[in-house]
């Protein structure tokens, strides 16, 4: 059975399974055995590859953020003009890949993790700083000195919308979220013109 070169495959499977498991269960109280089982292997193997449960969590967190970052980059690459740039960030943030119930559930739990685990905190800080800088780049040409304040407010709103999604019962609606965030910016800008 043992085919060589399994490591990356197994690791990827574990990471994926971790996100699903945490998101679905809605809690970090997920056993390594559960994750491993969903990924189709024994818990011993999971430990073999990652060393500890915490490492598995961190890898999953990195993955969620990497996907998100990639999607933002992808959207940004095609965007021409500040307006389009901003829109690209929002669309990526609430895309069907990132704004899914279980993924958002995972986010919520990673936030909790970041309260305790330094490395998780660091990862989150990286995410925040990237988001901020992306937003500022798009907003500065439109908003000038007010860009900072608007970016801060927008970032808070994005988090808030994620949170509501994690707690909501109905179907998720990324488009509405984009609309609301977009609206926030539009109004802030219009206000300034007057």
């Amino acid at each position: 059975m043992p085919k060589v070169g399994m490591e990356p495959i197994r690791k990827a499977a574990l990471v994926k399974a971790t996100i699903v498991e945490i998101g679905q269960k809605g809690s970090l109280d997920v056993t390594v055995a559960q994750i491993a089982r969903r990924a189709g292997m024994s818990s011993a193997l999971a430990h073999h590859y990652f060393g500890s449960k915490e490492e598995i969590f961190l890898a999953a967190m990195r993955h969620v953020m990497a996907i998100y970052a990639a999607e933002v980059r992808g959207g940004l690459a095609l965007a021409e003009g500040s307006d389009a740039r901003l829109r690209a960030i929002l669309v990526a943030s609430f895309s069907a890949t990132n704004f899914r119930r279980d993924v958002v559930g995972a986010w919520l739990n990673f936030w909790v993790l970041a309260q305790t685990v330094p490395e998780a905190r660091r990862l989150l800080a990286v995410y925040y700083s990237r988001l901020r800088s992306n937003l500022l780049y798009a907003l500065r040409p439109m908003a000038g000195p007010r860009a900072e304040a608007i970016a801060a407010g927008l970032a808070a709103m994005i988090d808030g919308l994620y949170l509501r999604e994690a707690l909501a019962t109905g179907a998720s609606d990324g488009a509405a979220a984009v609309q609301m965030a977009q609206d926030y910016v539009t109004v802030q800008l219009r206000d300034q013109m007057k």
Copy 2:
């Protein structure tokens, strides 16, 4: 030793200890023994009064929300006019009592709890609906039909600001949070007039 009439005192102590413990540890992974110890009693007694750990958590959650609700009511009672009403809600939301690091940390963990425990979810739903109705009452006279949308956006932003507080490293700044939320509404309203 046994003085009669201890039950409410002990329960209150446990609830308080639970909030501090969860907030400080930043996680729901808090043992009954830890909580009981902080509250100055044995874990057996905690079980005696609450029956289960989950009940302790729920009582703590109810308490946090009750405090918050009371503070909002207090502010609202003194407020004259829509503008003041809105301000009262915001000030209470980010007051020194509610917007403290450990309390916010507890909130974050209650959000997680609400993903799993139905009763927690219910409590949170009550909180949301109250917040919404308070906001609408204040906003309708100023914003008319747009009140709904503005209230939704504002609620999301409030949650987002809480979240950032839970994750932030520096000192908390309730005033800044109030300012940002207030600003959101002001701009939304001014926009509409034009």
